[in-house]
């Protein structure tokens, strides 16, 4: 086994080493600051907001163009264009707000009226929510299906955070 022994550095270079160390520390701080500015800038441009219809109305102009996961219940008698690949429309509502949603995709099997959904997309200036992704609220744990299935706020929040079935 050859274990090199830590040798003493020549004292002449000690001062230089200290100086270069300060320089390194300074460079590191600058680099870290630049990095933070870039990442936080990137994050703020790509945030996905988790809102209910009421939150969405409260956000006003901020909703246009922003990526939003809107969680709520499919309003009764609001679903149009069930058949065919394109042109599904429905309303998502909570206790105090309602938003009209247009979706182009094929809805999941469980999609129906009075069920909790989370739609991802953005609010358009034309006054409807353009949805590119539609998720139906369901619970992974065993529970006997309840009649009517009242919307479960907690479950919706969980679904909003989920990335299951994420599409580009």
């Amino acid at each position: 086994m050859t274990e090199p022994i830590n040798g003493e550095m020549p004292t002449a270079s000690a001062a230089m080493r200290r100086k270069s160390r300060w320089f390194m520390a300074g460079a590191l701080v600058v680099a870290a600051a630049a990095f933070l500015v870039i990442t936080l800038g990137g994050i703020s441009k790509n945030l996905v907001y988790y809102w209910t219809p009421t939150d969405l109305h409260a956000a006003g102009d901020k909703a246009y163009g922003a990526t939003i996961r809107l969680g709520g219940m499919v309003a009764p008698h609001s679903v149009q264009g069930r058949n065919g690949a394109s042109g599904l429309e429905f309303d998502v509502k909570d206790a105090t707000g309602i938003v009209h949603v247009k979706s182009s995709g094929v809805p999941p099997q469980m999609f129906r009226e009075n069920i909790g959904v989370v739609v991802e997309g953005t609010m358009t200036r034309a006054g409807y929510f353009q949805c590119n992704r539609l998720m139906v609220s369901h619970n992974n744990e065993y529970r006997a299906p309840k009649a009517g299935h009242a919307i479960d706020k907690k479950e919706l929040q969980k679904l909003m955070r989920s990335t299951e079935g994420l599409k580009d």
């Binding site: 469980m110 955070r161 990335t163």
Partner: protein
């Protein structure tokens, strides 16, 4: 009976791990050989207790003993035996027990392998491992106890999460991930030992490097298996979504990869000791952070468990380890004095530094993007997430630059080199790069990043292949017979460098396959009535109808599609919807038709009478990802097999190019 036995074993393991850790640290500071022998015994005993506890739990699962609370949560007499066996890691409590089981194996194996070596470091290492072991057995004994008794045992249980029953990949993905995650404890123990001892000699690099490489191999394979599983099961036609929990598995992989590279510079030039130790510590801390993310319920995803009671405990442990690591580093990093110095930036070691910089930037990028929503929610109470475009925009450029480095780094010589030497090394591979890029352009690649990836990928492939076989070619040139030259150059002497280049070759293919499959992918959502066809991406898909099939644990609806090309039938595809008793919503399982160039992917969105709403995806090159990641794992294993004992004496004179190494 079973719950009592289990609880007894766990309590004993808490006791053994705690006592063992104290003895080991004391043996370290007193340099007592007797103390070291005792701490080794405690390490073996801890492993034996963990093994026994896990065995007891498996016994309870297989015999459907519903008086054990964990079994009553995840067990079911209706599921196949393999599902029952893997139920051990299908829910929170069992998965922590499984964690302890793997930790026990790692600790015992590493202690045994080094039982007569590295005496000055081993007590501290064993002490650190047993401290981690004490924490996890405390978790099992307290907040996540799977051995609680059910007062009125049910006759049957619900079975594990149906998503986990849906595919056989679920048998191997979690154990691989745990082998990777838990394994990071071992190099962490070695790093702490080096810091506590106040030195990191050349001979100690061997166990440090090997203990880092083994979990790295497991983690690499596990991340790929997770992506593959998502692709085969979740039905959205992708393998990576920047899900917080996926990120959690990637973060320690990034720092561990960086550490494997900086360890080579440390070995060759005697510098970057403190830095390598820092990266090893970071890898361990990130595995604990990942555990917090998956186990605390702060994120909801397919990977995470719902209970949240152990979150705060893990967070406290994370904070304690972080504090300990930072304090220890700040006091002791100076004692890991550099023995050599770096001569030139445009050199092999210079490229290693750039590599480390990129890996650290990637780590922070992903870490910030993953934790930002958590911090905002904790402070402002608002819910949000960071979208995929952030990760893509940040990671793609750095990733592409890393691919460039895979080409440039190994081409450059160690130490100082003349401009002429550098140009002679860097220019020829450009031809291969240009050819690959031109081929891509001819085949319709237009995305700028993909074009760059092809250029750098071709370049890196050329350099990797040239260097992989360099020792062999040198021996043949010298006049050796081909057979012996091959064995001697690639497998007997140069195994580490050979393995390293295999990893690089696999990585190059992964880069290209990811770029091509994500930018060249096309998809279509369509609703087909029975007998109706649609033509997409060169194939005609005809919906033939669906049938029901009942299995003991699920009810399947199988849709049948005929796939034909230019009027000739190619294959029949059968995506299905599985309805499990424990779930209200059926789970779709897509059907994939793979060829060497691309995958054709059909996923059912819904089935209504005669109609099927389907998602059809055309993904080029996606199959290459799985194969080449396995190749990376094999390369890692090749490099891991101990070769002839060799210790570099750090010298100011750079060694000749033929003896060079790439990470592994």
């Amino acid at each position: 009976m079973i719950p009592t036995l289990g609880r007894f074993l766990i309590l004993a393991s808490v006791l053994v791990a705690t006592t063992g850790a104290f003895i080991a640290y004391a043996a370290g500071s007193k340099r007592s050989p007797e103390g070291l022998r005792w701490s080794q015994r405690f390490a073996y005993l801890f492993a034996a207790l963990m093994l026994a506890a896990t065995g007891v739990m498996e016994y309870a699962l297989i015999t459907h003993d519903f008086s054990v609370e964990y079994v009553s949560h995840v067990g079911s007499t209706q599921v196949p035996l393999w599902v029952t066996i893997v139920s051990l890691w299908s829910s929170l409590e069992g998965s922590i027990l499984f964690w302890g089981f793997i930790l026990g194996i790692y600790i015992a194996a590493t202690t045994w392998v080094n039982r007569n070596d590295h005496q000055e470091y081993m007590p501290y290492a064993i002490g650190t491992w047993l401290s981690v072991g004490a924490f996890f057995s405390f978790l099992i004994a307290g907040p996540a106890n799977p051995f609680l008794t059910v007062a009125n045992p049910p006759l049957d249980g619900p079975g594990p999460n149906p998503l986990l029953q849906n595919h056989l990949l679920m048998i191997i993905h979690p154990p691989m991930l745990y082998l990777g995650y838990v394994g990071m404890t071992i190099p962490f123990g070695f790093a702490i030992a080096a810091l506590l001892r106040g030195r990191l000699g050349q001979s100690f690099l061997r166990p440090l490097r090997a203990s880092l490489l083994l979990p790295w191999v497991f983690l690499t394979i596990a991340i790929m298996l997770g992506g593959w599983w998502a692709y085969e099961v979740l039905g959205w036609g992708g393998y990576w979504a920047w899900d917080p929990v996926e990120n959690a598995s990637l973060l320690p992989w990034l720092t561990a990869t960086a550490a494997l590279h900086s360890a080579i510079v440390m070995e060759r030039r005697g510098v970057l000791k403190g830095w390598t130790v820092t990266l090893v510590q970071a890898s361990f801390l990130l595995t604990i952070l990942g555990t917090f993310m998956t186990r605390s319920g702060v994120f909801n995803s397919v990977h995470s468990f719902t209970q949240s009671s152990i979150g705060p405990t893990i967070l406290i442990f994370l904070a304690a380890v972080l504090l300990f690591s930072v304090v220890l580093l700040s006091f002791r990093i100076d004692s890991l004095e550099a023995e050599g110095q770096l001569d030139s930036a445009v050199s092999r070691e210079g490229m290693f530094l750039v590599n480390n910089l990129f890996f650290v930037v990637l780590t922070f990028t992903v870490l910030v993007g993953t934790c930002f929503p958590l911090i905002v929610e904790a402070i402002k109470g608002k819910q949000m997430s960071v979208g995929r475009p952030y990760f893509d925009a940040m990671v793609v450029p750095v990733g592409t630059a890393l691919l460039f480095l895979i080409g440039v780094g190994p081409a450059l010589p160690w130490g100082k080199a003349s401009r002429k030497e550098i140009l002679r090394a860097l220019l020829p591979p450009l031809i291969t790069g240009a050819i690959v890029m031109a081929t891509g352009l001819a085949l319709g690649v237009r995305n700028v990043w993909t074009v760059l990836t092809l250029l750098f990928g071709g370049y890196a492939a050329h350099v990797t292949m040239a260097h992989m076989w360099l020792p062999f070619r040198q021996r043949v040139k010298r006049g050796d017979a081909i057979g012996p030259a091959l064995v001697d150059a690639q497998l007997r002497r140069g195994r580490r460098r050979f393995g390293g280049y295999i990893v690089h070759a696999g990585a190059v293919i992964v880069f290209v396959a990811i770029a091509v499959s994500s930018t060249m992918r096309t998809q279509e959502e369509v609703t087909l009535t029975r007998g109706q066809s649609t033509t997409f991406a060169g194939y005609t898909v005809t919906y033939l109808g669906s049938e029901e099939r009942a299995e003991p644990h699920r009810q399947s609806t199988i849709a049948r599609f005929n796939l034909s090309k230019n009027g000739t039938a190619v294959t029949t595809m059968e995506p299905r919807m599985n309805q499990y008793a424990a779930m209200r919503e059926p789970i779709g399982t897509p059907a994939v038709y793979s060829t060497i160039t691309r995958d054709y992917y059909i996923s059912i969105m819904n089935l209504q009478g005669d109609q099927a709403g389907v998602l059809i995806i055309n993904m080029p090159m996606v199959g290459w990802i799985w194969g080449s990641v396995i190749m990376m794992g094999i390369g890692g294993l090749v490099a891991l097999i101990p070769s002839r004992r060799r210790t570099y004496v750090v010298s100011p004179v750079p060694a000749e190019a033929a003896g060079d190494e790439v990470p592994a």
